[in-house]
Symmetry: C2
Subunit: 287 residues, 2 copies
Amino acid sequence: MEVCRTIESVRDMVGKARGEGKRIGLAPTMGALHIGHVSLLRRAAEECDFVVVSIFVNPTQFGPGEDFDNYPRPFDRDLDICRKSGVDIVFAPTAGIMYPDENLTWVEVEKLTEPLCGMSRTGHFRGVTTVCAKLFNIVLPDAAYFGLKDAQQAAVIKKMVADLNMALEIVVCPTVREANGLAVSSRNKYLSETQREEASKIYASLLKCEELIAGGETNSSKIVRQMREILDEIAGGEVEYVEIVDAGTLAKVETVKGSVLAAVALKLGRARLIDNIVCRIIQPEAQ
Amino acid sequence: MEVCRTIESVRDMVGKARGEGKRIGLAPTMGALHIGHVSLLRRAAEECDFVVVSIFVNPTQFGPGEDFDNYPRPFDRDLDICRKSGVDIVFAPTAGIMYPDENLTWVEVEKLTEPLCGMSRTGHFRGVTTVCAKLFNIVLPDAAYFGLKDAQQAAVIKKMVADLNMALEIVVCPTVREANGLAVSSRNKYLSETQREEASKIYASLLKCEELIAGGETNSSKIVRQMREILDEIAGGEVEYVEIVDAGTLAKVETVKGSVLAAVALKLGRARLIDNIVCRIIQPEAQ
């Protein structure tokens, strides 16, 4: 495994692999790798011949007052994980490499970025799409791997790739959970043991949603109310949103039909946690 | 020469050429090709082994009330010109091919798009950068060719390519002029014979600027005043802007130093004409 610090070196190495006819996979990460990331790396290693992982805590996707400075950066541990997961190149640039001059160019996706996390994290998705566009242009992968835990991010990136005719496939991998159901996230490090246990109620609220929909409930307000009852039990938790949206457009739905995404964001101690579940309902045909 | 109507077909053919180790050149155009375009195609054919020309009147770069509907589309004549200029592929998609779904993704360049044409043509550069990003992603050229007549466009696209780490070179070719000095443009078709003659005063005003700067004048306001005197003589002309800006940042300069761009936009009859000249001044060293 090679660690590349410059754009030229990663381009050279990937170019060689491409020249050998290898399929290139990229997993863009901010490091602090956990079993969720490992599932992406394994999937990439299964489907591709050459796997690139980028590790870059991207400043442009953090807002003022967010955790850019405190975001965990256990670099040597990350390299170990990559080595054991079949990674060929770790691309670990500095901010000066990624943004050498004043960055004036932004890739923005409208509409999909407005609800859910877009409501509170102004500019976040603009930072994500811009840095992903840069990474895609540097690596030119055949496929890039993202986690479904960040469902809105995955939808936004898929739309960017389609709209801008980027020649790669976006692969979205299932959310990996701890034994108690808590979605694995680098930000779980901010939680105490007790908070981690409390936070498992987020998944409980999503399972409640799934259960209600499976039972025929289609009224979003009613479902959200019951989810919120569970979330309100989280000691010290502060719900940012609980919403049921169309899984494609991310627009709020009043009546559940087709595929919906139930999504939750909640502040707990120093952490802002997000999670979601996709529920599909097959409507009985109107007679 | 092949005419490709779909993204898949142009990707296939360019992919084959790339596989043969050929250097790929792209000239993105809106058709209505003239000797200015021909100079781009010839330069591309000189520097590359495989030349792609896109012909696409891009709706997203026209504002309301602009000339999208009336923009000339002499397609068969364009193909003849391409054939004679060493072009390998003409990529001529419909709007439905380029924007199959609701387009939600925009590439925007800040600051450089605000002065000059950005003042009156809201959203124009956003449309240009977005469609160029799409074309670059479809063709993946080694070099793309633009004309210096659209100096602001060239600066904006260069910045986009640098900021987003697009792996291509932007080549900016000199403005081609009619015998009387008028910059060649598809929109000159909107002019009568008399207007065409009057419009030559635009270049006269730029030459006056060059002459003044060569003579040691560094006061932008004074230079602009003398340029405007010439432009005001254009019968039926309406000056939109006359400005002296830094050639790199496009910010207004009060005192000429280094490389400056003198830029003019003027409405004449049905046409909106732009032109510019780059002047370099070597400042005497302060003692």
